[in-house]
Subunit: 192 residues, 2 copies
């Protein structure tokens, strides 16, 4: 039976390699450069091997997204944990979120811009996605204000951050005023 186990280990290892390589390639040259041919070449296997692990390119994007969601949750919690008081926490969250988006553009795209075949905002949403939202909720819930549903408030705050992140990176917003935009958003949206 140990042979089978070894093969399963090796197979799992190769799957990790595929996801890591896809992510690396996307981070280096953008998702357009992540083709099944290039990806196969980098992991030193032929194309069809990819399809024995994933249904297609979309699922590979989804796998990167899941990994990214877990990391984003960690990043957000780390940022907020280091801050004292509601206001500082929310500011830290906003900065942490935008920072993550800027430093991991490919992962951010996999999560929120591309189609990774994942279900969002539903019962069958994968756990890492739920947890990433929960990480936002933990901090933002306490500044939603009276009579405002914490979940709804978190959605709006998150959407605002997402808008800033995407428009900035697409060159639709000048990057110079980034910090002032964060301040304005926190000042106005959060009830302190």
């Amino acid at each position: 039976m140990s042979v089978k186990e070894r093969k399963e280990r090796e197979r799992a290892e190769r799957e990790r390699l595929i996801v890591a390589t896809a992510r690396e390639l996307a981070e280096q040259q953008g998702w357009d450069a992540v083709t099944t041919r290039r990806l196969a070449e980098r992991i030193e296997y032929s194309q069809p091997v990819l399809y024995s692990h994933f249904r297609g390119k979309r699922e590979i994007i989804g796998a990167v997204a899941l990994q990214g969601a877990a990391e984003m949750a960690v990043a957000v919690r780390a940022a907020t944990a280091a801050a004292e008081g509601p206001r500082a926490r929310v500011t830290a969250l906003a900065r942490g979120y935008l920072d993550f988006a800027e430093r991991n553009p490919a992962v951010y795209d996999a999560l929120f811009r591309l189609d990774g075949g994942l279900a969002y905002a539903r019962e069958d949403t994968p756990e890492p996605l739920k947890d990433a939202f929960a990480a936002l909720l933990e901090c933002l819930g306490e500044v939603a204000g009276d009579g405002v549903h914490p979940g709804l408030f978190t959605e709006v705050f998150w959407a605002s951050l997402h808008g800033i992140a995407t428009l900035t990176r697409a060159g639709r917003l000048p990057p110079e005023e980034a910090e002032r935009r964060v301040e304005l958003l926190v000042d106005r949206l959060a009830v302190l």
Copy 2:
């Protein structure tokens, strides 16, 4: 000389046809379905004709975006003009914006999600884009609040709307609470 003029007219007419057809196709089946072959077939010319009008697919997207920007400016101004008082105006703007995004998803994508090769937020930004931003500014400038730069406020409000629009359409936000999200955003961001 009249022959030359006629040819130029026909050429301009064909260019309009290309843009209109691309937009129609994108609105019907999404931008992925807008291939140069399908587009060429629909306008009843061969592929290379497209390249005598545009450098490539990207420029065609850009042309649709420019058209869409002009329409969005009109839509936003129409929505705000019908409202009395700052609060009603801002609410109308938010609803009008999201409504435009929902009813013209392909145009919205061309404007803010895809790469149409256009310059944003710069001196050489095409006039329709500047004017669309101006349309937002006209209404939002009056609720920016003291000491807050109207342009910066408009950017943040716009980014928030953009975030809601994109996340909702990508299935990242449940569509049911759309109206309550708008109310929350207006209540908090605008200084009334």
